[in-house]
């Protein structure tokens, strides 16, 4: 029996600008997973995100979600973000059988012009929840935008089918 506790851990960022605009990117046609689909920036956690850094306490590196997310966003779209907040989670099993956990976060846009990482994505847009309906988004992302719109009005709830 393989170790049933081991998972890939991915983190995704819904970057918010001007209160209600979200950054979406289109995955390159040559990507193995979800080619041509619209998504949000993110990627897999790696131990290199923290192993080389000094620990913040005797045993722990703190703020790993925030740290990984900032790196991913910088690499993929060239933006600086702040106020990273947890939104929701998703366990997935890819067609190759690999189990992973996706942590979806929200972050505020700070500065920079979008610069797409070659080979990863080939287009981007800043869209409102309403506008996002006309894009071929990965399933579940629209519902997350709805969640954030509500959060901004002070209503916090779990992910649910819109």
């Amino acid at each position: 029996m393989e170790n049933q506790y081991l998972h890939e851990v991915a983190i995704t960022a819904i970057i918010v600008k001007e209160g209600n605009k979200y950054l979406i990117t289109r995955r390159s046609p040559n990507k193995k997973r979800f080619p041509g689909k619209w998504t949000v920036p993110g990627g897999k956690m790696e131990t290199k995100d923290y192993l080389a850094l000094p620990k913040d306490t005797e045993f722990y590196w703190y703020n790993v979600l925030e740290r990984t997310l900032k790196r991913e966003v910088w690499e993929e779209v060239g933006l600086e973000v702040k106020n990273v907040e947890y939104l929701t989670s998703l366990a997935t099993v890819h067609d190759d059988g690999a189990p992973s956990l996706v942590i979806s976060c929200i972050a505020d846009f700070v500065s920079g012009d979008v610069k797409l990482q070659e080979g990863e994505t080939d287009a981007f847009e800043w869209v409102t929840t309403e506008e996002s309906k006309s894009y071929d988004l990965l399933d579940g992302i629209y519902e997350e935008f709805v969640m954030i719109d509500k959060l901004k009005k002070g209503v916090r709830e779990e992910w649910k089918r819109a």
Binding site: L6, H7, E58, L65, E66, A91, G97, P99
Partner: protein
């Protein structure tokens, strides 16, 4: 299931038939652990649990409910959603926390879950762990401690927590939880 197979064939979708680490990248595998600080609205106190003195890690110290994500608990034939040929199980962490709070302490908690912080560490056996901490409202249930798990409990506010020997970080998380909900 036959209907599914036909649908998959027509759409050239080939979801995994079993979960396996064979194709996962070894340097990108982690234990994912989530903990939750249960908050009782009626008196503004949080639940902390005392670990057994015989535990190897943090013996006798106070912590909060939580546990490791386990892919063997994902029912591959019943994903909550299909995303292309990827099987999705929504609210994975939220479900894990509700289950652990029930199993370890006998209580019901309710979302939404508020993020407190996240840490990484490496276990003595070398496996990297991502630990994410949340706060959630206690909504009912009498405390029933899981045999072999915890041996005592306390409901504490931001000052009372100082009277208990807690695992590093727990005191701050209790204080933070009270701030989130008040």
């Amino acid at each position: 299931m036959d209907d599914n197979s036909r649908y998959f064939e027509d759409n050239q979708i080939m979801p995994a038939e079993k979960i396996s680490l064979e194709n996962a990248k070894e340097n990108k595998l982690f234990y994912f652990v989530a903990n939750v600080v249960p908050y009782r609205e009626s008196d503004g106190r949080c639940l902390i649990l005392k670990r057994d003195e015989r535990e190897k890690v943090h013996p006798g110290r106070y912590g909060v409910p939580g546990g490791k994500l386990e892919w063997s608990q994902l029912d591959i034939n019943h994903p909550t959603r299909m995303n292309g040929d990827v099987l999705d199980f929504e609210n994975a962490v939220e479900d894990l926390l509700a289950r652990e709070a029930k199993e370890e302490a006998g209580i019901d908690i309710e979302g939404p879950f508020h993020y407190i912080n996240s840490v990484a560490f490496v276990r003595p056996d070398g496996i990297p762990v991502i630990l994410v901490k949340f706060a959630a409202k206690y909504v009912g249930g009498d405390i029933v401690l899981e045999p072999g798990g915890f041996v005592d409990h306390a409901w504490v506010n931001g000052e009372e927590v100082d009277n208990y020997e807690c695992i590093d970080g727990v005191r701050e998380e209790v204080v933070r939880t009270i701030k989130i909900f008040s």
